[in-house]
Symmetry: C2
Subunit: 333 residues, 2 copies
């Protein structure tokens, strides 16, 4: 089967594009766009592999397309950037039908529309192995805006822009029962969070436009892992309070231990976590409130030096340092 | 085996980078750069798959790295652009060693140095299938410079910036004898053209800076195919003269028929082919001569409408239209 590699891109015409004022030309091998010197360009790349990041039992072709773009958008979210363009490179096994590929594309297209980003290039090749899908995303952010992991300082407030653990719980259900199972309403929500996450681009934009000194990460590998990265980059200790970590009501059917594992170590939630000074926190909280977006306070930054993350229990005692122990897809199972 | 996905990028420090004035930051998930409003940004993506675009018998790991970047650079060459940054996404089979990967990286690094382009991001994932290597390259070109396939007009001169056919002949030798064979000196040259092509970036820059109306393509699929694309996009007929197509002296051991096939249909030479008006041709030829670069005249553009490519034989008769019949790697073998 020979797939037409240009079909996807050809379906984008200047009049249907979101960034049409900027797109100078989209060719078969290259795309051109105009830039704005007030902004910096941002680029991120992510690859999803069948059998590693998903299987036919966990994601439909439509969801694969959605998720590949969502994961990449989330990286832009963590930079506070505005998404502009994306390129898709896909290595396709023979068993995949045109229909499957069309659905992958539809999943991307629908999400791209939501975030006003245009497909401007790609490459389609065949493979004798599993499907490999690489998305490169290009965005822009105001000059001088740096939401870096190294920006945390002692006494900063640690925040989180959404609940964590739902995606990991959803994956757990999918691995046990497959996506063809008839899930309960609660389970459906968890499964959907794993299959079709919505990246926190709007939240990232509030954070970057605030002008505050902010450290930031998107939660792809679990909050324990992401906060450890911030602690290491900023050379600080981070304390998080077990009671303050928001709990998803959809996780009720899980044991306390499982729930805690999902919340701290479950990855792929694609919310944002980071730190801001106590002084700036109230103003930031108002900006989130104005747009009806969540902003949870889950802890604070401790002394400079130690570079560890501690969890405070309900009884007031600190845990051992929380390790990164992130979420490693199927390989640890 | 877990590969450290950031090792490659971490090896780039601002002081060792070629675009250091422009790089604002390189993080684990995203990179930022400053832009120049006088230029447009260009982006291209290409994927190479083990067993489709190369095998362990045709390319060494070092050559895989070189070639993946070269193919992408060639797309920038066809836009007349200056290479700036690249991102690498690699799906790695378990059988690949750290040493193999290091060599892939060295192959890229050496070529990147030659073309003054910086690695600014990437993703490393595991796969149960063959190696899949995706390179995204970002460059810039002066505003308003369009070297488009649709720019050919009747009476234009058809040019070529290097010999064609060597890469295809080299691949033929590699498939027959593998890269471990002791090749003759002539054969080594052909094999090297397949394994380590050098993209025509400098030639592309002369063409874009000339300011002339130029149609252009890089020869990834053979000149018959590339000129057909120009003919179709420009709605013209292109006549090429068999006697004028440069013949590689290293192809002497091949039959006339094989040689002709390699020259016209052999792909992956990564030279440039296109058209320029008769009026501008002399000035363009001087610019190439000043830099000791080749520019061959191989034919001319005929009437507007037909959108075909004809080959003129030594006896003066025209051939049937040359079909695209490009070069399709291993799948047609």
């Amino acid at each position: 089967m020979i797939h037409d590699e240009f079909e996807w891109i050809k379906s984008i015409t200047p009049s249907s594009s979101f960034q049409k004022e900027l797109i100078v030309g989209i060719g078969d091998d290259a795309a051109l766009w105009s830039v704005d010197e007030k902004m910096e360009q941002v680029v991120c790349v992510d690859t999803m592999v069948e059998g590693v990041h998903f299987t036919k039992d966990t994601l439909s072709p439509y969801q694969i397309g959605h998720k590949a773009l969502a994961v990449n958008l989330s990286d832009l979210g963590a930079m506070g950037a505005i998404p502009q363009f994306f390129l898709v490179s896909i290595a396709i096994p023979n068993e995949w039908s045109e229909q499957d590929l069309q659905e992958v594309y539809e999943g991307m297209k629908d999400l791209a529309k939501k975030y006003r980003t245009d497909l401007i290039g790609g490459d389609t090749v065949s493979t004798k192995g599993p499907l490999v899908l690489t998305v490169t995303i290009i965005g822009k952010v105001e000059k001088g805006t740096h939401l870096l992991r190294s920006h945390a300082k002692p006494d900063d407030i640690v925040f989180l822009t959404g609940v964590t653990g739902e995606s990991a719980a959803g994956l757990h259900l999918l691995l046990e029962k497959t996506r063809h199972h008839s899930f309960s309403e609660s389970e459906k929500r968890l499964v959907a969070q794993h299959q079709m996450p919505l990246p926190h681009i709007e939240q990232g934009r509030i954070l970057s436009k605030s002008g505050f000194r902010i450290s930031l990460n998107d939660v792809s590998d679990g909050i324990a892992s992401e906060l450890n990265e911030i602690a290491e980059s900023s050379h600080v200790t981070i304390h998080i309070d077990e009671d303050k970590i928001p709990v998803s009501p959809f996780l009720e059917a899980f044991s306390i231990e499982e729930r805690r594992n999902c919340q701290l170590y479950g990855g792929e939630d694609y919310v944002l976590t980071g730190t801001v000074s106590q002084q700036d926190y109230q103003a930031l909280a108002s900006l989130f409130k104005q747009q009806s977006l969540s902003l949870f306070v889950i802890g604070k930054v401790g002394e400079k030096e130690n570079a560890s993350v501690y969890l405070y229990h309900t009884n007031g005692r600190a845990s051992n340092p929380l390790t990164k122990k992130g979420f490693n897809h199927f390989r640890e199972r």
